[in-house]
Subunit: 493 residues, 2 copies
């Protein structure tokens, strides 16, 4: 058999296993009965081990060697590069280490839940020590170009070194901190949104927006969960949200956010399905899609010029709030403690803090017991506020408990990619004009052609270059913030 | 490693794959988006092939041989017997034949849907020919003690020969036909149930009944589908129903029916999970559980003495219908064309007709083109009615299109087992008294101890003997019918 075809057959099976795992995960978070949890754990572990075994058989290694010696076209060459990447990473981590991680994560997560609830970091600390130790072992096994943290970042933002992220994040921080200070000084009166917003009315309206965005409900669905998420790919890409009957904003923006993720997944080329080109370029690029839809489109005045009359009509509680005030209500900038509730400007400071801490932790400069103190210092320094306890401080996020070090920076990378893509898009199409007329599909078409359909064809940094003609540059985001919030707050930023 | 333990490790993996497949099937019938169907087909086929490969590796054969040479206790010996059964069957069917069946079934099912809709048997006929040919090949590969149909029946009702079923079904037919004729002659005025029965009110009430039955909603759930079903086992056993806003009966009895199936699945011993003893004895025994709850309990006067005041209160449409008339309304015997809508008495005639036809088809006495005529003749002879077209005749059921020959008889076996178990139960506990007081849990306890917890410990015929002290005997069912409908219709049967 043709070695490329044989390799793709293996990848097809591994992808099929991934699709099945996704469904198991979706069910676990939506409809699974409580007592089914133990069995579900067994099922997921079984599939994960199966996928690991299939992609690490020596035959895959020899197929890769043969293909690497051949002249290949751009697509095949990218595919081989990506399979090599997975093969090398997965074969370098001993099965016993993987198993130990799989065993310790649920315990660590449980300890984290407990610690967060009791606002007591000491409950979580020993587990975090263990997770860190295991993740350091992973870094050593996998290898890294400069520092161990590179090996972890690589999992979420491939081909990207810590030093590169650090450079752009430092520039971002230097420019963002004074902007936030300036906005904080000029707080205007707050716009309060109060009243009853029936979940079923919210749902209908958000589904309408999702349809307008181009989300295909015949290849996906919208359900309700505690925390919103997107799962699946291609013809089975499902999203979830969480409704609050006293405020439409959380579900509204999480629907648009998850819709952005889902459009990416629904947008890979059919012919690339079950190949690396039918997968997201990186988590940062994935996040750029959700953030663009949520923030650059969904929180823009143009967008609401079209949709506000309608949401205004269906929710009597908004009857006394004119468009401009509603626009302010969905764009209030205020330093706060909780990342997931932060506005689009201060959000990045939460990420920068975590990123800086993670590097210090992995460089051995910061011990586990020192984390709460360091966390609080940085919040005071960058955002001018100090958490009253670790529950709303260093215990707020699940990520560290499940060993997801290197994940946080992709959120801010997503914001930066989004702004840079958006500026490139605006050079080609009249985005504001389209939004004012409720025409969202041309935006999707641009994203399909420039981002979605390329999948993993290029590494993220190259994709940014190909699409925008430049290296990643935080100026696009900074300029957006200055323009938008300068206008909103009537100040010059 | 201990060979028994090694064998159980293999079985555990195969069971895990089965659990995953169940969830995929559940999702496919409840919430899966339309376009995900093709991908789901790939996923299910992958799992089915994986399970097949795992249980047919030569190592399983040699483990079985070693274990069969050892003295084993009752439990281990039953486990080894059952694994041997699967191993022998699965290894005897060539992978190419399995694949061919997997390929042709979706086409055949599609042709059946089309044929049924157009009431045109000729659309389905060539596909049915092909399915039959393949199933005959399966029978030849698997082998059979007397006739090829034995090999098919074996899949659903293990250790049971066609001749045994034939004998009891013939006796049943001879006793049942005159009873149905007698009842048909003495039709009373029909009790009409009309009005509005809100699905959410129905749902709440049926959930209440399911809880009373002992169904554990923390280890299962109730959803809505086109056709009701039960899926899963142990701590993840889900049921579905279909609500009609103008009649509470279909959803009510399908909930109780599926609840009966689910209680069986939830009732296997935890320590036997992922072994054959944590599985249903046979489809007939499975059906005995659903039928007992649906018909012997759920359609009894004692049951409604307790529940009627409540359903009467929540549904104003029932306000003019006293208990006795409601009891008649859920127990109307009338020959009809559609199996799934038939009452508990005439239902068995539908099965007998299918069973007789299947045997003739497999004996080569009845060609595919002759099926519609033979079908209509039997309906006229046994039930006194003739289908006006094949859509409500021989095309009504999905079974043949998916090659499920040998499945139908398990429905009537279920009815017979149910009556025989029920009589044994009544010798030990005061069932009527309990039902009148809404005490359903003692009934469940009896079933747990006598049927559920035994899983596949015994073949069905032996289980019946162990539990009731006798061979399977249709008299229990006949006596039940005579007693109940004699009273109801005021005649001596």
């Amino acid at each position: 058999m043709d070695p490329y075809k044989e390799l793709m057959n293996v990848y097809d099976e591994v992808s099929t296993i991934g699709d099945i795992s996704s469904l198991l995960g979706w069910d676990q978070n939506t409809y699974m009965p409580r007592k089914a949890a133990a069995g579900r754990g067994t099922q997921s572990a079984f599939l994960s081990k199966l996928a690991h075994r299939k992609i690490t058989v020596p035959r895959v290694g020899s197929l890769l060697e043969r293909l690497e010696a051949e002249p290949l076209d751009e697509v095949k060459s990218a595919v081989v590069r990506e399979v090599r990447k997975i093969y090398t990473r997965k074969t370098s981590i001993p099965e016993e280490l993987e198993a130990e991680i799989a065993r310790s994560e649920p315990l660590s997560m449980q300890a984290w839940v407990d610690a967060k609830q009791k606002k007591d970091f000491s409950i979580f600390a020993p587990h975090l020590e263990r997770v860190l130790e295991l993740k350091k072992q992973v870094a050593e096994k996998v290898g890294y170009p400069e520092i161990p943290y590179d090996a972890l970042l690589e999992e979420y933002e491939p081909y990207t070194r810590t030093a590169q992220v650090k450079e752009v994040f430092e520039r971002l921080r230097k420019r963002l901190v004074p902007i936030i200070e300036r906005i904080s000084e000029t707080q205007k009166d707050e716009v309060h949104i109060k009243g009853e917003f029936k979940p079923e009315v919210q749902e209908n309206f958000y589904k309408r927006i999702l349809r307008d965005m181009g989300y295909d409900f015949e290849a996906g669905r919208l359900d309700t969960t505690e925390h919103p998420f997107t799962i699946g790919t291609g013809d089975d890409t499902r999203i979830t949200t969480h409704y609050y009957a006293d405020d439409p904003r959380p579900a509204l923006f999480s629907c648009i956010h998850e819709g952005g993720h889902a459009l990416y997944e629904q947008g890979f080329l059919k012919e690339n399905m079950h190949t690396p080109l039918g997968e997201a370029c990186s988590l940062g690029i994935h996040e750029s899609q959700s953030r663009m839809w949520e923030n650059l489109i969904g929180r823009s005045l143009s967008f609401w010029k079209h949709y506000y009359p309608e949401i205004h009509r269906i929710f009597p509680a908004l009857s006394n709030i004119p468009l401009e005030r509603f626009y302010r209500a969905v764009n209030t900038v205020r330093p706060s403690l909780i990342r997931v509730e932060a506005d689009e400007v201060t959000y990045n400071m939460h990420i920068l803090i975590r990123f800086e801490l993670e590097i210090e932790i992995f460089n051995g400069k910061l011990g586990v017991s020192e984390i709460p103190g360091a966390w609080n210092d940085k919040y005071e320094k960058y955002l001018g506020i100090v958490p009253e306890n670790d529950g709303v401080g260093c215990l707020q996020d699940i990520h560290w408990s499940i060993g997801a070090f290197g994940y946080f920076p992709t959120y801010t990378l997503g914001n930066l990619y989004a702004s840079q893509f958006f500026d490139a898009m605006k050079r080609e199409i009249d985005v504001e004009g389209l939004l004012e007329n409720g025409q969202l599909l041309p935006v999707l078409s641009w994203l399909r052609k420039n981002v979605h359909e390329r999948g993993k064809l290029y590494p993220a940094s190259e994709l940014v270059r190909v699409v925008t003609g430049r290296e990643l540059d935080e100026s696009h985001f900074i300029d957006h913030v200055k323009r938008k919030y300068g206008n909103l707050y009537g100040i010059s930023l």
